[in-house]
């Protein structure tokens, strides 16, 4: 159990880091939409619409690190399996 929890903690950290990097390493807050600008050819005005898109931010990294810490911390309450001694 201890090893499973520790492995999960590492996986959570890796997944969060990969997601953060893959979505553009945004150093602001997590975004669930992005601003898209389209030019109106007659007036020359740039119209703004929002497109749904997940961009992980530092809060996402923080929550993931907290979760990984909890998993790692919980793993400390479990004893490591000691190799069983066999009597001859």
């Amino acid at each position: 159990m201890k090893k499973i929890l520790q492995l999960l903690a590492v996986l959570v950290l890796l997944a969060a880091g990969t997601t953060w990097l893959a979505t553009g390493a945004n150093r602001g807050w997590t975004k669930t939409s992005v601003m898209v600008k389209t030019l109106d050819p007659v007036t020359g005005i740039e119209g703004i619409t929002y497109q749904k898109k997940f961009i992980a931010g530092v809060d996402f990294l923080g929550v993931s690190a907290l979760l990984a810490g909890l998993l790692g911390g919980t793993s400390l309450f479990f004893r490591s399996k000691k190799p069983t001694q066999t009597k001859n």
Binding site: T32, S33, V42, G44, I45, Y50, G57
Partner: protein, 201 residues
């Protein structure tokens, strides 16, 4: 045709040509927008508003006499982070349930310069935000696009008036969380307005 017949006809033609036009800024295409930007030491907030309406009376022969009101629905203010949007609309910040509109009423124009169909001017008027009314002057660019409404909205004839303005306000002047969260929410709010109004014929 006698001269005494020509004079009233000439007067009528001149009056029709020089008449001020009323432009409606409720955009059926939804392109009109106001962008806001706050750059604090710890955080930058960028967003926009699309709920724009209002009317402007503009005379292409006398742009200096322009008056009108532009209204932005406070609820249409959007930022890409959903939690930030909830905070922005909440009673602690803009309180959009109570203060439903952000308005600018243009009262007079100064430093008016016209080149072709483009007029620049310093527009003075009252800006209302968060229930606080303040007199401000903002640099504005007017572009008068004669007979261009049909190119934008099919089966309609008329003129377009494009208004562009970039200016800043201070949230402390409008009692928006005055003196609080200054490291995360900048006091200076950069506003950029790009809107087109239609005057159908």
């Amino acid at each position: 045709m006698k001269l005494n017949h020509l004079i009233p006809l000439l007067c009528l033609t001149t009056a029709a040509y020089a008449a001020p036009e009323t432009f409606d800024f409720k955009d059926p295409k939804g392109v009109n927008n106001a962008v806001f930007k706050l750059d604090a030491p710890l955080e930058s907030v960028n967003g926009s508003a699309s709920g724009i309406s209002g009317t402007v009376i503009f005379d292409p022969e006398n742009p200096g006499a322009t008056t009108g009101t532009i209204v932005v629905a406070a609820e249409s203010l959007t930022v890409p982070n959903p939690m930030q949007k909830v905070h922005l609309h909440s009673e602690h910040w803009l309180d959009v349930g109570r203060y439903t509109n952000i308005t600018f009423e243009a009262k007079s124009l100064g430093n008016v310069k016209t080149e072709g169909d483009v007029t620049t001017a310093d527009v003075s008027g009252t800006f209302t935000l968060h229930g606080v009314v303040k007199d401000i002057t903002v640099p504005v660019k007017f572009s008068y696009l004669k007979d261009k409404l049909g190119a934008r909205v099919p089966k309609m004839n008329g003129d377009l008036l494009v208004i562009r303005a970039n200016f800043t306000i201070d949230r402390r002047d409008f009692n928006i969380m005055k003196g609080q969260y200054e490291d995360k929410v900048a006091d200076t709010i950069e506003l950029s307005l790009s809107i087109a109004g239609a005057s159908p014929k």
